[in-house]
């Protein structure tokens, strides 16, 4: 499959995503410069982590104006799979492709460590390889991961099963202590209503190889591959 990894000025997890997709999973993954205006020939898009535009003004607030974001929106509108990780998630929020916003971490400082997240919706193209309620160990690394939205939106999202990951303990309990950043309703990842766009604060590309301590994050990429293959097969058959 052909993956495009968008490179904004200040992206810094682009190499890591490409490494996992190509060296670990044997897929084709190319960097896409943020000034590109088309995403032709790509099967899925990843917005990687980092500090696009230095996080100046507000995380993701400037990157959403990059020329490529028009193409990303169109790609998503046409049903293409878009995954935003960390800063990529923040950009998708600013661009309106996902609901909600990010606040500073409750501690007001950057946090880099392993966390556990519970898979709240295993019926998405990003989580097909997971069991419902499965606990994944994936690292976070951010200063602004305190997810927020209003009550109306939150109940809509819950009703539509848009909350995909919640922070939890190692044995799957959703507790205040297991919430690293103060995120509303312990939300660690959300999808759009159509289900083809996912944003998540944890970095699956950092936990996709056993040599790095654990490979739970690989499930996210394998799920995407499954979904893409299924879609291709369907397209061939019809």
């Amino acid at each position: 499959m052909n993956f495009g990894v968008i490179v904004f000025p200040g992206s810094n997890c682009d190499h890591d995503c490409i490494h996992v997709l190509s060296d670990v999973l044997g897929q084709k993954a190319i960097p896409v410069w943020h000034k590109e205006s088309t995403l032709d020939g790509l099967d899925a898009i990843i917005l990687p982590g980092g500090f696009s535009y230095g996080d100046y003004l507000r995380t993701g607030a400037i990157a959403r104006f990059s020329p490529v974001m028009g193409a990303v929106k169109q790609f998503a509108d046409e049903g293409g799979m878009v995954l935003g990780i960390c800063n990529g998630f923040q950009i998708l929020l600013e661009a309106g492709l996902l609901p909600g916003a990010m606040l500073r971490n409750r501690s007001l400082s950057f946090i880099c460590r392993d966390v556990h997240v519970r898979v709240e919706n295993a019926a998405t193209p990003f989580t097909g390889r997971c069991r419902p309620g499965q606990v994944l160990k994936i690292p976070i690394a951010h200063a602004d991961g305190n997810y927020y939205t209003d009550d109306v939106m939150l109940s809509q999202m819950k009703a539509a099963a848009q909350v995909v990951f919640r922070y939890c303990t190692a044995d799957g309990q959703v507790t205040p202590e297991a919430n690293p950043n103060g995120s509303l309703d312990h939300i660690a990842g959300v999808r759009n209503a159509a289900g083809n766009v996912l944003g998540m604060m944890p970095h699956p590309e950092r936990s996709a190889e056993a040599v790095l301590g654990n490979d739970d994050g690989k499930l996210i990429f394998l799920s995407m591959l499954d979904a893409l293959q299924k879609a291709k097969l369907k397209a061939v058959l019809t």
Binding site: P9, G10, N12, C13, H15, D16, H19, V20, D23, G49, G50, F51, Y53, G54, D55, Y56, S109, F110, I111, C112, R113, D114, P139, A141, A143, H203, E205, R206, A208, E209, V211, L212
Partner: protein, 750 residues
Amino acid sequence: MKLHEQPIAKDLIAQHGLSDEEYKKIVEILGREPNLTELGMFSVMWSEHCSYKSSRVHLRKLPTTGPRVVQGPGENAGAVDIGDGLCAVFKMESHNHPSFIEPYQGAATGVGGILRDVFTMGARPIALLDSLRFGQLDKPLNRHLFKGVVAGIAGYGNCMGVPTVGGEVVFNDIYSQNPLVNAFCLGIARKDRLFKGLAAGIGNPVMYVGSKTGRDGIHGATMASDAFDEASEAKRPTVQVGDPFTEKLLLEACLELMDKDLLVGIQDMGAAGLTSSSCEMASRAGNGIDLDLTAVPRREPGMTPYELMLSESQERMLMIAKEGKEAEVLAICKKWDLDAAVVGRVTNDGILRVRDQGKVVAEIPAKALAEEGPRYERPNAPPPYQEHLQALNLDILPDVKEPTAALLSLLESPTIASKAWVYRQYDHMVRTNTLVRPGSDAAVVRIKGTNKAVAIATDCNGRYCLLNPYVGAGIAVAEAARNLVCSGALPIGLTDCLNFGNPERPDIMWQFILSIEGIKDACEAFGVPVVSGNVSFYNETNGLSIYPTPILGMVGLIEPADRAVTQWFKQAGDQIIVLGATRDDLGGTEYLRVAHHREQGSPPLLDLEAEKALQACVLALIGDGLVQSAHDCSDGGLAVTLAECCVSSPVHRLGAVVRLEPNGLRRDALLFGESQGRVVLSVKSSVVGQVLKTAEKMGVPAVTIGSVQGDRLVIDVAADRWGPGCRIDADLETLFDRWGKSLERTLEQE
């Protein structure tokens, strides 16, 4: 053309930190009086910070060659061969003075500077470490400095996407008025594609790339060459402000320019900015540079040539491009939204000539600025207080009565306690190479595309160096190597960051010279070359000098990468073995400071031959796959080391039951003494015999002291004819609470 309009006033010379002798030499070199711009240029280039005038004659003694050395000292960073056509490029540098004045920006720009030193060589940075020293955290100022420095390091490194994978933090009140911030960076470059700071090729364009030049940081290098007093607060405007986002763009642009083979030479505009980068590149190549300031991108109008030449605005590079490639260079810079301009040409007359608005405003032989600064062999003498420091009468100090309580208070001493509060704020995983995260003896980072990893550790015990600079500096080398070896790495190179007081004082110079001797002898014993480094003098405030603190950053190679070993116990049932001999080494220990409020005595004995045998033995055992965990025994001695083996794992806690034979030692020396050359191993019980036999064959004392088991740490000391037995007994929760959470409690109390 008249370069000097009016003679320079005497107080202006003094304000520029130049002595009368030095000024005379300037007049001699120029054959006339300098103008103000030229005076400023000489002032920064001949400052201690840039010229190494007090240290150079001594630094020459360090061993800098070896079969792996690709680039020794004198360039932006050193480089050692790691095979596969690659080399590890690394350096460590201090940013002490700016960090005291403005902790966040001081530390941030320290990280920015060391990153530039590494990527100007053509290396992609893959790891940062920071070695920090602060006063004790009971004082609000020290908490402020510590928090600010950590936030500054995080702010810059995280944004750059280079993981901060380790380092150390030591707390001692001697650093209260003069914290140390030493930043280390390692990058990987192709051996055949190393870039240097060379202004080669007459007529080649000199290009400026990066942030615009502002009025910030003027005379930063001169500030760093002066001691502190109450007036230092007023120097805040000389601290530069970092912009990591621009630096990230600069990094990517530079690597792209190098990849496309457009450059001849490149140098970071660090201390002394445009002046140092231009004269050093010209001088190294034996050429001159004709610089036109009119084209320099600037942040504000009305800047004088003096300000432009001395500005230390961050995130700027000076490059020598290949002739005719100017447009390609400009296009790549534009892609990355960076300012860039042709600001001069390489000339053949050896002169750094600076023009502004069509007028020549400075004209100085480049070599005179860069290399012909003064050299001092300053007087040295042992301080009168040295004898008092070393005199330690143990007979008047009672032996430990409550060893469990003593262990717990050592574990929560901030120097020993877990630094998780610190490294949690650093992105230590980005680039997905971090095989061993912060919190073990050394950080281990894999090299993608190879079967290798590098291990990195920084070390220095300033108290040992105060008590005996020669032994203390040697121990720093030995301990850095031991940390690498415990991770399964073969030490291959070293960078040093030598932090001392005022070199014009004979006692400080004495400390400096002996430290260099100590480093030299230890490096020669281990066969590890010094490939880069930095000297920071004048670390004193109101006449009180810091402890001599020669911090070492050592790099080792692990092959295959998955052989890396960590310090914590792995499995119940494993046997615990101590390699190396325990002696009566209480002098200069953390125990003596915590329990008896003394920083006195002689540091532990350093036996280089025994140390070499120990390290060879550990490497052989790890190579044979016999080692479950290996932990260097240092601050806090055997008891603290064992406690750390029990509770420092990020995934589990394991207890241990241990019995120690005192062999005539005091209980406190046995439990908390800091004898060098010791490592605590855990091994599967099936291989104990093999491990002991290997140790015996290699001449290393080895004794099985107990096993990994249960949920408590129990250390029994047998009775002998010198005294009764005693016992340490603590549950893992308590040990972890005191070791793992005390720093956080101290810092978050307000």
